[in-house]
Amino acid sequence: MTRARTSLLPYLLLAPSLLFLAALFLVPLLQTIGLSLTENGELSPANYQRMVGDLNFVPSLRNTFVLVLVVVPAQVVFALAMATMLQKLRLGRDIVLWIWTIPLGVSDLAAGLVWLAILQDRGYLNSALMALGVIDGPTPWLTYETPVALFFSVVAAEVWRATAIVLVILVAGLQLIPREYAEAAEVFGARPWTIFRRITLPLLRPSLQTALILRTVLAFEVFAVVYAIGGRNFPVLVGEAFVWQTDNQNTGVAAAYAMLVVVISLASTVFYLRALRTPPEQQP
C-alpha cells in the first residue's frame, strides 16, 4: 500500500459520517433558522413576534426554566449520593447497579405514563393518602387548577427517569480517580466529608461537566413526560413547538420555538464549559 493511499484512508473512513451529519444536522439547522426568519419567502420577524405574543409563550418559558432549575440540580445531588453509596457497597453491587440504571432505558413518554398510573385520581398515591386519612376520596392533582401538584408530579417523573444517566456518568468518572488520593488524605486524618469535598468533587469535575451539559440540554427538550401526565395543562417550550407544527400547521412559529430552545441549549453548554473548566495544571 502506498503512503498516499494510507494517508487518505482516515478521511475516507470519516467521510460517510460527516456527510450524513451535514445532511441531517447542519442542513436542518440552517433550514430551521431560515424557516423561523421568513414569512411567505420574505425576511420577517413575524414568526418571533407571533411566538412572543402567544398566550402560552410566557407560561411555557417560565415552566421550562423552573423545571430545569429544580430537576437538574436534584438529579446531580441524588446521583452523587447514589454513586457514593455504591462505592462502599461490597455485596450485590452489580445487581443494585443494574436496578438503579433501569430508568436509563425508559422513554420520557413511558415515564410520564408510569407516574400517571400513580398520580391519577384513583391512583396509588391517593389510595395511600386515603389510608393515612389525609383525603376522603379520589382527588385530582393533575389539572389546570392544581399547578403546584402538577409541577411536582412532572419533577418526580423526571427525577425518577433521568437520574440514571447522571449516575452512570458519575460512576464512570469515579472509577478513573485513583484510590491513593483518598487513602493519603485518610492517613492525614481527613474525615469522609472533607475527602469528598476536597478530593473527590474537584477530580470529578470533567464528569460533572459532561453530565450537566447532557442533562440540561435534554431537560430543556422536556415534552412527552409533561403531556403524558398533564396533557396541555402545563405548557413547555417544545410542547408549544409541537402544537404549532401539528395542530396549527404553522412551521414558522414552531421553528421560532425550536431556535429559542437551540439558543438556550447552546448558552447553557457554554456556561458549563466556562464554569466547570479544568485548569491546565490539573489536566491529566
Partner: protein
C-alpha cells in the same frame, strides 16, 4: 453505632431500589388490570386483578401492532446505519494520526449541545419531496443523527482498547489491512459493537418528538401513544407504556457490562 450506620445504609440502598422498581410494578398492574383495575378504589397495590385479556385487547386495537412494527423497523435501521457510519469513523480516530482528527472529535461533541430531535421540523418538507415522509425509514434517518455521534465515540474507544500489535502481526503474515481488520480486530471488538448497536436501538425506540412530526399514518409506537394520549382510556395508555418499557429494560440489561466503559470514555 457502627451497626446502626450499616442498617441506615442498607435501608437507603433498598429504598432507592424500591423507588425505581415500584412505579414499574404499578404501571404493570394498570396494564393488566383492565378497566376495572384502573377504576378500583381504594387500590390495594396487590396483583389481585391481573387479567392477561386486558393486555391482549390492547394489542388487538387497530394500529398498535403496526406501530410497534414501525418502531422496530426504524430502530433496527437506525442501529445498522449508526454502526455502518460510526464504526469506520471510530476506527479512523483510534488508529490514525491525521490532521483534523481533533476537529472531527470537537464536531461530534458539539452535536450534544443541540436539541437534535427538534431540528426535524424542516425535514417534514424535504421528506415529503423525496418520499420519506410518513415512513419508518425517514424516522430512522433522524434517529441515526441522534445515535451516530455516540456510536463514533464509543467504537473509537473500543478500537483503542485492542492492541495495535495484533493487527501489525497479521500484516506481517501477509494480510491486507482489510483482512487484518476482519479476522483480528473485528472479532475482538464485536461484543462492544453489539452493545453500541443496542444502545442506538434504544435511543430510536424511545424518541418521541421527531417520530411524531414525521409520521401521520405509519406512526411509530411512541408517536402512536402520544397521539392517543388524550382520547384513549387509562388502561390502554398504561398497556402502551409497559409495551414501551419492557424491550428497552431487557436491552439495557444485555449491555450493562459496557454501560460504564462506554460513558467513562465518552466523557473525554
Amino acid at each position: 453505632m457502627n451497626a446502626l450506620r450499616r442498617i441506615v445504609y442498607a435501608t437507603g440502598i433498598i429504598a432507592i431500589c424500591a423507588w425505581v422498581l415500584v412505579p414499574i410494578y404499578f404501571i404493570a398492574l394498570g396494564a393488566f388490570g383492565g378497566r376495572g383495575g384502573v377504576f378500583a378504589w381504594p387500590k390495594t397495590g396487590l396483583p389481585d386483578r391481573v387479567l392477561l385479556g386486558a393486555m391482549q385487547r390492547f394489542l388487538e386495537i387497530e394500529g398498535v401492532w403496526e406501530a410497534a412494527l414501525n418502531s422496530v423497523i426504524a430502530a433496527g435501521l437506525c442501529m445498522l446505519l449508526s454502526i455502518a457510519l460510526g464504526a469506520p469513523a471510530g476506527y479512523a480516530l483510534a488508529r490514525f494520526r491525521f490532521r483534523g482528527a481533533n476537529l472531527y472529535r470537537l464536531l461530534i461533541l458539539m452535536t450534544r449541545a443541540f436539541p437534535l430531535a427538534i431540528l426535524a421540523l424542516p425535514l417534514t418538507v424535504s421528506f415529503i419531496r423525496i418520499g420519506l415522509y410518513d415512513t419508518p425509514y425517514g424516522v430512522a434517518l433522524i434517529h441515526t443523527a441522534l445515535a451516530l455521534p455516540f456510536a463514533a465515540l464509543i467504537t473509537s474507544s473500543l478500537f483503542v482498547g485492542i492492541p495495535r500489535e495484533l493487527e501489525e502481526a497479521a500484516w506481517i503474515f501477509g494480510c491486507t489491512r482489510w483482512q487484518a481488520f476482519l479476522k483480528v480486530v473485528l472479532p475482538l471488538a464485536l461484543p462492544g459493537i453489539a452493545a453500541t448497536a443496542i444502545f442506538a436501538f434504544v435511543i430510536s425506540w424511545n424518541e418521541v418528538f421527531a417520530a411524531s412530526i414525521l409520521t401521520v399514518r405509519e406512526r411509530t409506537l411512541t408517536a402512536y401513544l402520544l397521539k392517543i394520549l388524550s382520547e384513549s382510556p387509562l388502561h390502554y395508555r398504561f398497556a402502551g407504556g409497559l409495551l414501551l418499557i419492557v424491550p428497552s429494560v431487557v436491552f439495557i440489561f444485555a449491555v450493562r457490562k459496557y454501560l460504564f466503559a462506554m460513558w467513562g470514555i465518552a466523557n473525554r
